[in-house]
């Protein structure tokens, strides 16, 4: 068994163990849940230590740890896994966030066994999506994430949990149906028929422009919902507000990345003509995500909803970087995926911390907590500053690279997007002012500061934010060779955005 299968299926092993444990053994269930995610994290760190970023001069994606077994021979469906510099950092992000979320989930008291079961299944699905190199396998994992997420929101969520869960489920299903059509179209169009992504990348030169555009639209509908790109983003604020804290963290930290990852791995690499055709649309959607998402976030009084809309804004930066088809843009987008996962993951944890204590997330309900909860206030301030792109923390470099990449091709649109940065700063500062500054609201004078469990969940993210902010090459060096190969894949195309 290869390392990638190990990373992906260790959580499944945990889930199966939990299944046979008695329901009353809450502590054992928790321990197994945390250990399974920890094992997966350890395996992914091992993979990192063995990973070679590769050399762009070779002109080939540095795919590694390949595993290929025939699965359904009659349709040439293979169990085909492998990672390169684009997927490995996101896999690490996934295993890390899942581990931290599993630790944080110790606060869940209700139906613990089922919670951890679904949680681990969700992790399997997400890891599979990033490892799969066979479109059929990719789709299976993609859909595998849906069901656990549906239950995690629908059972352990807030007051409107059923509605949020079904809306999330249907919205995503709506998208993935079109993606399935796209996958089938690619299968039937290729000769010999194949689901192999790497083969399809090679075969794409033979696909006509019209075909690529139609299939691209199918994939776009599937992936845009996940990103979420305007106008398919309205499920996100609702799902986030209703989801329990650890699930929000996974939703924002990992699930949204599936959309961006798919766009780079499939839409761009297999359907370059479709991608090229869509570029003018992509830049407009990116700018709408950035500016409109930021303004919508500013209108929120619910902290969680505000963070949710800020995700719409931040994923807009990814789209902006992708609309550039340049080294800076792609590196920015890929780095932004990791950084957004760290930052927004931490933000959702921190919002959860205050909600667990105060049972409200209304920013007007607090005031002056800074003096009362110094550790919490410090971590929250740091995370907010990271999110608004303060240099020295990780959000800055990735945002800046996205802008830097997009600017030569889209001067006006990129300049308009700068408004988004300003508005982001405005709403985070307003939130900090209302919650932490000013006179202490006497109602909260007995709030305790962060517990050890909460610190274990948040501080690794805070350390990484600072580390990647000061020394971004820790991540960029992993990604750069792969992305350089990708931007060089179609030298004759994308004249629109190439100087």
């Amino acid at each position: 068994m290869g390392i990638l299968s190990l990373i992906t299926f260790l959580p499944l092993l945990g889930a199966l163990i939990i299944l046979v444990l008695p329901r009353e053994q809450v502590k054992a269930v928790r321990a197994v849940g945390v250990l399974a995610t920890l094992a997966s994290l350890a395996a992914s760190l091992y993979a990192l230590s063995q990973f070679h970023p590769g050399d762009a001069a070779a002109g080939q994606l540095p795919m590694q740890f390949l595993e290929k077994f025939s699965w359904i021979p009659s349709f040439d469906v293979n169990y085909f896994m492998g990672v390169d510099g684009l997927s490995l950092p996101i896999i690490l992000l996934t295993t890390l966030l899942c581990f931290l979320a599993a630790v944080y989930s110790a606060s869940i008291e209700e139906r613990v066994k089922e919670f951890y079961f679904w949680f681990l299944i969700l992790e399997v699905g997400m890891l599979g999506v990033f490892c799969a190199l066979d479109l059929f396998l990719f789709y299976v994992f993609w859909e595998l994430t849906l069901v656990p997420m549906y239950f995690l929101i629908g059972v352990w969520g807030g007051p409107k949990k059923e509605f949020a869960a079904i809306k999330f489920f249907l919205f995503t299903l709506f998208g993935s149906v079109f993606m399935l059509l796209g996958i089938l179209a690619l299968y039937f169009q290729s000769n010999p028929h194949t689901f192999d992504m790497l083969e399809l990348m090679k075969a794409s030169a033979g696909f006509s422009r019209e075909f690529q555009i139609i299939v691209f639209i199918g994939f776009w509908l599937g992936l845009a919902v996940k990103v979420p790109a305007f106008p398919f983003h309205t499920w996100l604020p609702l799902a986030h507000v209703e989801a329990p804290t650890p699930v929000s963290v996974i939703l924002a930290g990992v699930l949204l990345k599936m959309g961006v990852y798919g766009l780079l791995r499939i839409s761009y690499s297999i359907l370059p003509l479709g991608y090229e055709w869509f570029l003018p649309g992509l830049i407009v959607i990116a700018v709408i995500n950035i500016v409109y998402g930021a303004f919508c976030a500013m209108a929120q009084d619910d902290m969680k909803k505000m963070v949710a809309y800020s995700s719409v804004n931040h994923m807009g930066y990814c789209l902006l970087g992708m609309a550039a088809v340049s080294d800076a843009g792609f590196n920015g987008a890929a780095l932004q995926m990791v950084n957004h996962g760290l930052i927004t993951g931490a933000l959702f944890f921190l919002v959860g911390v205050i909600y667990d204590r105060a049972h409200t997330r209304d920013i007007n309900a607090f005031g002056g907590l800074g003096a009362k909860l110094p550790v919490y206030a410090g971590l929250m301030a740091m995370t907010c500053f990271a999110s608004l792109g303060l240099p020295g923390l990780c959000g800055f470099i990735s945002e800046f690279l996205c802008f830097l990449g997009a600017f030569p091709a889209w001067k006006l649109w990129t300049t308009v997007s700068v408004i988004g940065i300003l508005v982001t700063a405005a709403f985070f500062l307003r939130m900090m002012q209302k919650v932490f500054l000013g006179p202490l609201n006497e109602k909260w004078k007995d709030l305790p500061d962060m517990s050890a469990r909460e610190l274990v969940a948040v501080s690794p993210l805070a350390v990484l934010m600072l580390l990647f902010g000061i020394w971004p090459r820790l991540v960029l060096d992993l990604m750069n060779p792969t992305l350089k190969v990708m931007t060089g894949m179609f030298p004759t195309m994308f004249q629109l955005v190439r100087p």
């Binding site: 509605f163 809306k167 399935l180 179209a185 990129t414 307003r430 000013g438 750069n480 931007t487």
Partner: protein
């Protein structure tokens, strides 16, 4: 020393974290001594570097970089570039920071967050020092933003009070608005030039490789950023409120670490402005208007720190004006002297506030009997800023006025008028505080001179305010090290030649620069009416001082009051700061409204279209479904009725029906697609 210059920003940065994480928070924490010690080291190192530069032991510019990160084939570098101006500003920043930290030992002792205050101070200074030494505009921008963060933390240091909490946000947001200009400028610069390295950029500009429109765009963007950080019109609004922070922090902000950043940015990239006349003109006019309007606003203010804030804005306007009219050396000279006397003024004001526990000058008066050291030192600073001959301010302001006159006599006229106003409002502050009559006898009775940790820094700064001008001017040190011709000559050497070759030519270059400076001096001397200029400056300075003396020194304020009443509308406008604040508040309201409007659209239109759109879609599918049913099954009417009811019963019912419909839909589509593909 020079080869380890990177330590100067890095040590305080690390110290900031050490102070946060080590030791126990408390009003008597010992950790502040760590911050002070590190800053003393930085001061020593910066002094050595300056001494080496002055003596010629070190060859400037010193330039060294390392790789930071890379994307594609591009290597982003991180490095230091020390030229004459950088050496001077390093010294000024470390000196003022050190004195402020020393002074704060007394001023902030006993504050429950004493330790954290020093962590923030270290961070603040470190960010500014990083900005000064950066060889690269991206790392400069990073430090620029960190300066903004540290100012946010320090202005809002007493965040339990609503005033500081509001002021810190205002400062951050206003400067962030300006930063957008820098951001876009950087993007434009990189798209056109493909580098952020200052030496490389300078080389490219000197080779005419930067198109005019790029230079203009970049210049205007950078100017906008400088308007934010250096509090120029119209983005000055944050600075008068920034006094909500502890007073030593104000000294730091006003003299060394924050507002200087904007001037320094323009000076550091002056070669871009030189290539863009429009941007250069904008710099000059921004500076001139700021200098004048800020001076008028200072005339009516009664809050001692607010007067000083307006005076800083006005003096920064002078520096900007100097840069804009080509007085590069003069502007940086003024930056240096201003740092000394403005730090002194703020620390002196802090000493007074510490004594009377009020910011309002109407509560002060006659304090000269109680606080002799403060009175004398603040008096020296006031004379220096007012332009009394042979004090530091006189030389630097005179240099700027000369450059302005050579550029445009009309601008000179406004500038000299401003100089008169400066002398007036600054001496007004001095007379009202230390002379006049005691406004509040209870407070006066309790007033006392401050402890030595506070008065020693005052003495050092007073010494510098007295002598820095004459020494730097008469020895010609400043003109030799900070000099536009020298700057523009540099990049060829640094980039084109190998190190030893450069060293060989250094002597030659210095000679050439000296010759050029001498030539410039000689040239200036031939300009006929210029011997009148010092006379005019002298006249307005004394007119201002005496005018204020007449109105405020005697303790009889009736004349001032009657003047205020006669010009009530003017005074009102000045007190409302020309309504700039109101304009920005209106903008904030507008963006809030915009945010609400967008969210309304999101909740009521976008979401509705997609959710209801689905509903309509599924209804359509359902009715087709039903139509088929009705052909086969009886009871068609009932079915339609049921579906209509379903649709009306809300989303939850509705979407439950959808799942099956989707599967149907998917199956149909797959079939259609399969047919299309197989029949091709």
């Amino acid at each position: 020393m020079l080869e380890h210059v990177y330590l100067i920003p890095i040590l305080p940065f690390v110290t900031a974290f050490l102070i946060v994480f080590l030791g126990k928070e408390g009003p008597h924490s010992k950790m502040p001594y760590l911050g002070l010690g590190v800053m003393f080291w930085c001061l020593l190192q910066a002094s050595c570097i300056l001494a080496q530069a002055v003596s010629g032991a070190a060859t400037l510019p010193y330039y060294k970089t390392m790789s930071w990160f890379s994307f594609g084939d591009f290597e982003m570098t991180l490095g230091v570039l020390i030229d004459g101006p950088a050496a001077f500003v390093l010294f000024v920043v470390t000196l003022v920071s050190f004195l402020v930290q020393l002074y704060s030992l007394g001023y902030m002792h006993g504050d429950p967050r004493f330790k954290r205050y020093y962590a923030y101070l270290s961070l603040f200074t470190s960010a500014m020092l990083g900005l000064v030494v950066s060889s690269n505009l991206l790392s400069l921008f990073a430090c620029w933003e960190l300066v903004g963060l540290a100012s946010y933390l320090l202005i809002g240091f007493w965040f339990e009070k609503p005033g500081p909490a509001y002021a810190s946000k205002k400062a951050f947001m206003t400067t962030k608005l300006g930063d957008c200009g820098l951001y876009v400028g950087l993007l434009l610069l990189f798209a056109s030039q493909g580098t952020f390295d200052l030496q490389m950029l300078q080389y490219r500009v000197s080779q005419d490789m930067m198109p005019l429109e790029v230079a203009t765009g970049v210049g205007l963007g950078f100017l906008f950023a400088a308007m934010g950080k250096s509090a120029q019109i119209p983005l000055f609004i944050w600075l008068p409120d920034a006094m909500e922070g502890p007073t030593p922090v104000s000294a730091l902000i006003h003299a060394a670490t924050m507002v200087v950043a904007g001037i320094y940015l323009v000076a550091r990239t002056i070669f871009i402005f030189n290539a863009a006349p429009l941007a250069m003109g904008a710099v000059a006019w921004t500076g001139l208007l700021t200098a004048f309007f800020a001076a008028t606003m200072a005339v009516t203010a009664y809050d001692i720190k607010r007067v000083l804030a307006f005076s800083t804005i006005s003096q920064l306007g002078y520096m900007m004006l100097g840069l804009g009219v080509g007085g590069y050396s003069a502007a940086l000279f003024h930056l240096t002297t201003h740092a000394f006397f403005k730090a002194l003024l703020f620390l002196g004001a802090g000493s007074v506030i510490h004594a009377v526990h009020s910011n309002d000058m109407r509560d002060m008066g006659e304090l000269r009997h109680k606080m002799p050291v403060t009175t004398i030192t603040v008096g020296i600073a006031t004379a220096a800023i007012a332009g009394v001959p042979f004090l530091s301010g006189w030389y630097s302001k005179e240099a700027i006025l000369h450059a302005v006159y050579a550029h445009d006599p009309l601008m000179w006229f406004i500038a000299i008028l401003t100089a008169g106003l400066t002398a007036f409002y600054m001496s007004r502050l001095f007379w009202l505080t230390f002379f006049g009559k005691a406004g509040d006898h209870h407070k006066w009775d309790h007033a006392h001179e401050s402890p030595a940790t506070m008065t020693v820094p005052l003495g050092i700064l007073a010494f510098l305010s007295l002598l820095s001008g004459i020494v730097l001017d008469k020895t010609g040190v400043f003109a030799r090290l900070v000099n536009l011709e020298g700057l523009l000559r540099a990049p060829g050497e640094a980039l084109g030649a190998v190190a030893e070759h450069a060293a060989e030519h250094a002597g030659e270059a210095a000679e050439a620069v000296g010759a050029a400076a001498a030539h410039a001096g000689a040239h200036a001397g031939h300009h006929p009416p210029e011997f009148l200029l010092p006379g005019a400056a002298l006249f307005v300075a004394f007119a201002g001082i005496l005018g204020a003396w007449k109105l405020y020194a005697s303790g009889d304020y009736s004349l001032a009051k009657s003047l205020r009443e006669r010009f009530a509308p003017v005074a009102e406008t000045l007190e409302r700061r020309y309504y700039f604040d109101d304009f920005f508040l209106w903008m904030v309201d507008l963006s809030d409204m915009l945010a609400r409007a967008f969210f309304w659209i999101d909740a009521n239109i976008i979401d509705a279209v997609f959710v209801d759109g689905w509903a309509a879609l599924s209804r359509a599918i359902a009715s087709v479904h039903n139509w088929v049913d009705s052909r086969i099954v009886d009871g068609a009417v009932d079915g339609v009725g049921l579906i209509t009811q379903d649709a009306g019963r809300g989303l939850r019912r509705l979407v439950r029906g959808q799942t099956q419909d989707y599967l149907l839909y998917a199956a149909v589509s797959v079939a259609v697609l399969a047919v299309i593909i197989t029949t091709r």
